[in-house]
Amino acid sequence: MTAGRLLPLLAGLFTLVALAFSPGGEARWFDGGAGSLLLALVPVFLLLAFWQRGSKAWRGLVYVIVGGIAVFGLLNLLQAGAAGAAGLGFWLYGLGVWAAVWHGVDCLSKAEIASAGWRRGRDLLVPTLFGIWLLVVWELLCRGFGIPQVLLPAPSVIGERIGNSSAMLWADFQQTFLKAVLVGYAIGCGSAFLTAILVDRVPFLRRGLLPMGNVISALPIVGTAPIMVMWFGFDWPSKAAVVVIMTFFPMLVNTVMGLSASGHLERDLMRSYAAGYWQTLIKLRLPMALPFIFNALKINSTLALIGAIVAEFFGTPIVGMGFRISTEVGRMNLDTVWAEIAVAAVAGSAFYGLVALIERGLTSWHPSYRQRS
């Protein structure tokens, strides 16, 4: 309970005390739109600190919204002259807003919401807020302290770069993701799947390959990138080859394990029907292996992108995400690097999300989904 009371008090206290210090630079609390907005919010924070009623959900929402307005004010205050020279007042106020938003998120997280729809909305809202908050803190710190761009560009700068260089980013994305990653992923996972079915027919091979596969999965396979570049040239096939090697073993190991996941009863049942090998495989063992297979497909979606990008560090034509990252780092164009990383992050998450979505469609019967519905 103490934390629940403490944070609102801190929010009120910090924002109040902040007024006694300069926000820094040419900005003032008492003139200009941003300053007066923040000034006006102080009594609101103070009042809220003594607000005891209302459900947690409402309380959380109010805090988040007021905190959001305050953040808007702080960003404008930077625009008004505090950029790079933010004073003690600015940071104290920022801490106060932090306390307020944290309290809001805390309330939202703990709120007991009856309707399933709203609850799902809350479960989406809270992490989204957290993500936005991270960006905001990043932005405030970068611009408040005037961190040089070669060290860490602010999110707004990175956003601008994404907007300005979209053609280049798209070309890189095409080269790395649409060619190397997808082709390598398809070949790697596909061939591993077929190998697994072959291996599964020979128990001797299964016993031999499974421990080997486990060991190989732990090895630094990205290291084969220079060799692949030598063998397959600078263009995307060498990257795809690295992706094939990286994705092969996780898929092999998981599929083989999945194929042996069916229980004795289920297999005896198939035997009592005098079902053949292929019938048992298709009707029992493959469905049973699906969660394992998708586990590998998900792991591999991440590994594939990593493999392709890192392989490009060893030499590429003058296009590709990994190439761009390594050369722009050298030129200290960190905004481009971050833009590329943002694209990689979005592509990686989207790829993963797509695989997860297909998994959900195909294995909705699995216990891990059952509990949610």
Binding site: F204, L209, M212, A218, M321, I341, G348, Y352
Partner: protein, 311 residues
């Protein structure tokens, strides 16, 4: 109730499991055979991949040659497309055993450079991961806000940031060990967090209710129930974490054209077309990875044995 079927497992083949059949029925035999098959395939591949160049050589020298000559020569080229295993081993023997360990040509020297940042990063990363997991399990707001991002972050190709981390930290004066350790920390900390959240939540409701009937404090519940329950999960993620730490350290050595470390050896090898050097660096890295994972497994077995878990 499980009746007789469960208790009496029929043995398929020989009447009594002899030493030899145990060897084949167990894992050792099959693993050995598969490994040997791989080496054989490798030799075959080396002959096949290196032969085009060898044909040229033979043609230029205008000599008569037999298949035996071809095989012998392809397996002993200076800059083969695919070096034969014995060439890699010879190179490793030379650079590990014969060169002084502090020389720049010694693989021990390079391995140590990579290993030290791996271990430092792994230690910090694991610690951070555990702390974060405890926070997520005990603080509702952290669970709701942070956990989705921890999971999402798994889908992001984190290694892509490696060169930037190295360069940025380099520009503020941090060079050598620290930037690589930062990458390793970053990489190892996510699997540990996820594994530990799972582990700390693994006690079933009955066990938690039991602690409630004793009106145990949160602290007691943590040390007496949640922490011990999470140990198997911890080790599973530590194994993933240490392997990925090594990868992080190696990749961290690439962007600056680093002068030391296994990653630098890989890069230098690829610049100068020294395939034997690349392969020996790769093998050393693989060996270290296997060793590190085996070490964690060993500690795991010892700890679990002490905890009385059935092996």
């Amino acid at each position: 109730m499980t009746s007789e079927v469960a208790r009496i497992e029929p043995l398929p083949a020989a009447a009594r499991p002899g030493l030899l059949s145990a060897f084949w029925q167990g894992r050792t035999g099959p693993v050995l055979v598969v490994a040997l098959a791989m080496v054989a395939l490798w030799y075959a591949g080396a002959v096949w991949l290196n032969s085009p160049w060898q044909y040229d050589v033979f043609q230029r020298q205008d000599v008569e040659w037999t298949t035996t000559d071809l095989v012998r020569e392809t397996l002993n080229q200076d800059r083969p497309v695919l070096p034969a295993p014995h060439q890699v081993l010879a190179e490793m023997q030379k650079t590990i055993l014969e060169v002084a360990p502090d020389s720049r040509r010694s693989l021990i020297y390079h391995s140590w450079v990579t290993l030290s940042s791996t271990l430092l990063g792994f230690a910090i990363g694991s610690l951070l991961g555990i702390l974060l997991a405890v926070g997520i399990v005990y603080v509702k707001a952290l669970e709701k806000s942070l956990m989705p991002w921890v999971i999402a972050s798994q889908t992001i190709p984190i290694l892509a940031i490696a060169p930037m981390v190295v360069v940025v930290l380099g520009s503020i004066g941090l060079r050598g060990l620290i930037p690589k350790a930062v990458i390793s920390t970053y990489l190892s900390f996510f699997p540990v967090t996820i594994g530990m959240v799972k582990g700390l939540r693994s006690p079933d409701p009955l066990q938690l209710d039991l602690m409630r009937t004793y009106s145990a404090s949160r602290w007691q519940t943590f040390w007496k129930l949640r922490w011990p329950s999470s140990v198997p999960f911890l080790f599973t993620s530590l194994k993933v974490g240490i392997a990925i730490s090594l990868v992080g350290a190696i990749v961290g050595e690439l962007p600056t054209g680093a002068q030391a470390g296994l990653g630098a050896r890989l890069l230098a090898g690829s610049y100068y077309g020294q395939t034997v050097q690349i392969w020996s660096a790769l093998f050393t890295a693989a060996f270290i990875a296997a060793l590190l994972v085996a070490l964690v497994s060993l500690v795991e077995r010892l700890v679990l044995k002490r905890m009385g878990v059935k092996p």
